[in-house]
């Protein structure tokens, strides 16, 4: 493995093997694919007591609605999810209003024509396009993927020497690192940089330092000041990317906070149970040579 540059990016500081994120933005030899080291960010939903920040999810939903939803969909999500605990926490009326903005296929009327009705909270998110064919036609053959699971369906290609593997794994286990997808997505949204000298990309594609192969059909979707938050949060590109990533992170795993909360109780219970069993075993075996 000669091509390997580094590893363990953004893991806990002080590690001999880790290097600063800025140092990683260097390129592999001779104008080939760029190896950008995706920084590991701190998300509210990481770690033992992770949860989604309600205000951030609301901002992220705004970004999704105003920008992403022009091309993508969240087909596995229902409008009602927006009002469920652990999520953006919209009121029943707000959810109803959001749902009512779309038209949903109801069935066929008496003449056999397609009948549509206004969306209801129970409906799943409706795509702007009738189907993938229409989307492909609109985007020159590239279908914008559904974003329902995007933060779970993307990871980071981490490169390290084979002998570092046990260490990487131990660090992952100790820090419950599950946010690769979010890190990737955030970096991708920030990854539209100027084309490096000597690189050429195909017509109609955009250069992105994070996307595998660096050539991406999606043009830069977010920029500074694009979405008006209205709550005083600075609408920088970085903030917008973080917020929409958080929203999509929640969309991929709406029960995350519930899961982590339950986990704490289960672990505490099991620790006590294991302690009692060990005590029982010690008492039972106390006079026995073995």
């Amino acid at each position: 493995m000669t091509t390997i540059k580094t590893t363990l990016m953004g893991l806990a500081a002080g590690l001999l093997l880790s290097i600063a994120p800025a140092a990683a933005a260097e390129q592999a030899a001779a104008g080939h694919e760029e190896h950008y080291q995706i920084p590991r960010l701190k998300w509210t939903w990481g770690g033992i007591f992770g949860y989604f920040d309600q205000q951030q999810l609301r901002r992220g939903f705004k970004v999704y609605k105003e920008v992403c939803s022009n091309c993508h969909n969240l087909g596995l999500l229902s409008y009602r999810n927006l009002g469920e605990p652990g999520g953006p926490g919209f009121s029943p009326e707000e959810v109803k209003a959001i749902a009512a903005e779309v038209q949903v296929f109801e069935g066929f009327d008496e003449q056999g024509n397609i009948a549509m009705r206004a969306g209801r909270p129970a409906d799943n998110f409706v795509w702007k396009f009738k189907n993938a064919k229409e989307a492909a036609a609109a985007f020159g053959g590239a279908v914008p993927p559904d974003l329902s699971l995007i933060t779970r369906a993307r990871g980071i290609e981490r490169e390290f020497h084979w002998y570092e593997y046990p260490l990487v794994m131990a660090k992952d286990l100790a820090t419950q690192y599950q946010e690769q997808g979010a890190d990737y997505l955030h970096a991708l949204l920030l990854g539209y940089v100027d084309l490096p000298a000597g690189r050429k990309i195909a017509d109609g594609l955009n250069y992105n330092r994070v996307f595998p192969g660096n050539q991406l059909a999606m043009p830069q979707p977010l920029s500074d000041g694009q979405v008006e938050y209205g709550d005083g949060t600075p609408n920088t590109l970085d903030q917008e990317a973080k917020d929409v990533t958080a929203f999509l992170g929640w969309a991929a795993e709406p029960h995350l906070a519930e899961r982590k909360k339950m986990g704490v109780w289960v672990i505490v219970y099991l620790a006590v149970l294991a302690g009692l069993l060990l005590l029982s075993k010690k008492v039972l075996w106390r006079n026995i040579e073995h």
Binding site: Q178, L270, A271, I288
Partner: protein
């Protein structure tokens, strides 16, 4: 078991040949017709060497994971739709809408991984202490058959997700059979089409995989019953590898001594299990499988779940298609024969100065194959894959028979009792004698 019977065995270690006496009119009546309580009492009183270590608890841990997988799996089947159009979405619906659906699904997914983790430790323990040697050959071979069933079940279960990796894993692995075309033209193709129920992996394939994923575990349970039966006939091995000579002094009844010990081990492993389920349930899986199956697009890098990686590395190490398939299955089949490939008079590696080291070299070899299996088949990884594959077979087919003949075992205790007494003397000089 009643408190009274616990007390009686507790206070007289050794003298536990269980003589079940039905106490009530009902148990007497039942005992004359179906002596199931008598059987259970006898079963749980199995004399077990008192010197076995915690690594022996992995048998009980495996039983625990089997039960976990059966329970969670039956529940998943209540929500899963084995139809290629909606399979993926039905799992996501379970995760999102069903009460505790996410818990059921993550338990099953992580449980499968830890099931393999436990079975590998169980197998390595058997290899280190020579638990496969006479008279435990059949016990060992049933174990290998269980391992095969586990692999088949896990593979088919993974396919049911119908994500990108599921779909392409099924495509790639079922295509292995097309290598039979090199034996007789058309044979492999015919077999593959028969497995698929079509000209590609599609809904008929998914349906049969679902049915078999539900069915094979029943075979597995039957094999586990045979495995435990065989264990009761020949008894547990122990770290010295010496057979029990004096049941009274060298063994303890399985219950309550080893039930308690195993329960503690299960609780300890359950902490690890819960940690992964609740905080990193997707860590052991591949992210690509959260994309729905797409028959028109292959993921750039197809890798199986971690527990198949060593075998996957062996498959890819051989440049010929048929050869790779034979090597991969050979790597499992060779395990059936190790009771006869091992020529040593001594069971336990504790007293085998050379083979002890070769055991650890083999563990390293297996881990290395696993790592290589996770890497793209290019560059130097191909070469190293071949080296470690060759060593895998050399270990069993050359070193195992040879070293057993030339090796001089180190001094051994005379008996389990001797070993226990020596250990007691060296570690706790003040220990109060048991009897």
């Amino acid at each position: 078991m009643s408190n009274e019977s616990i007390a009686s065995v507790t206070h007289e270690p050794g003298s536990f040949e269980h003589t079940y006496q039905p106490k009530t009119a009902f148990t007497r009546w039942l005992d004359a017709r179906l002596p199931v309580i008598r059987f259970a009492a006898h079963f749980m009183a199995m004399p077990t060497p008192r010197n076995i270590k915690y690594v022996w608890a992995f048998g009980a841990i495996l039983a625990y994971f089997l039960v976990v997988q059966l329970y969670s799996g039956i529940i998943l089947a209540m929500h899963y739709a084995p139809n290629s159009a909606i399979a993926f979405d039905s799992i996501e619906k379970l995760m999102r809408d069903t009460s505790y659906g996410w818990l059921m699904r993550y338990t099953h997914v992580v449980g499968a991984s830890l099931f393999f983790f436990a079975v590998y430790i169980h197998m390595f323990r058997g290899m280190y202490y020579g638990s496969y040697k006479s008279p435990r050959e059949v016990l060992w071979m049933i174990g290998v058959a269980i391992f095969l069933c586990m692999m088949a079940t896990a593979f088919m279960g993974y396919s049911l997700v119908w994500g990108q990796m599921s779909f392409w894993a099924v495509t790639v692995i079922t295509n292995l059979f097309s290598s039979f075309d090199s034996i007789y033209p058309g044979l492999g193709t015919a077999i593959v089409q028969w497995i698929w129920g079509g000209f590609s992996v599609d809904n008929p394939t998914l349906n049969r995989l679902f049915s078999l994923h539900y069915m094979v575990p029943f075979v597995l349970v039957a094999l586990v019953a045979l495995h435990v039966w065989a264990l009761h006939v020949v008894g547990s091995n122990n770290p010295t590898g010496i057979e029990v000579r004096d049941v009274k002094k060298e063994t303890l009844p399985f219950h309550p001594y080893f039930t308690t010990k195993d329960m503690f081990a299960i609780a300890a492993i359950a902490i690890l299990f819960a940690y992964i389920v609740f905080w990193m349930p997707n860590y052991l899986g591949d992210v690509v499988n959260y994309e729905p199956a797409n028959p028109l697009k292959t993921p750039p890098h197809i890798v199986p779940e971690w527990y198949f990686l060593p075998f996957y590395a062996i498959l890819r190490a051989i440049p010929s298609k048929l050869g790779g398939v034979i090597a991969m299955f050979g790597a499992i089949v060779v395990l059936f024969f190790i009771p006869w490939l091992d020529t040593s008079r001594v069971r336990s590696c504790r007293y085998r100065p050379i083979f002890k080291w070769l055991f650890w070299v083999f563990v390293f070899d297996a881990l290395a194959l696993g790592y290589i299996g996770s890497q793209p088949a290019e560059g130097s990884w191909v070469f190293w894959g071949q080296v470690f594959t060759v060593y895998y077979f050399v270990h069993f087919l050359v070193l195992m028979p040879l070293v057993g003949l030339i090796e001089t075992p180190s001094p051994m205790p005379e008996s389990i009792e001797d070993d226990v007494k020596r250990k007691a003397k060296s570690t706790q000089p003040q220990a109060v004698p048991a009897e």
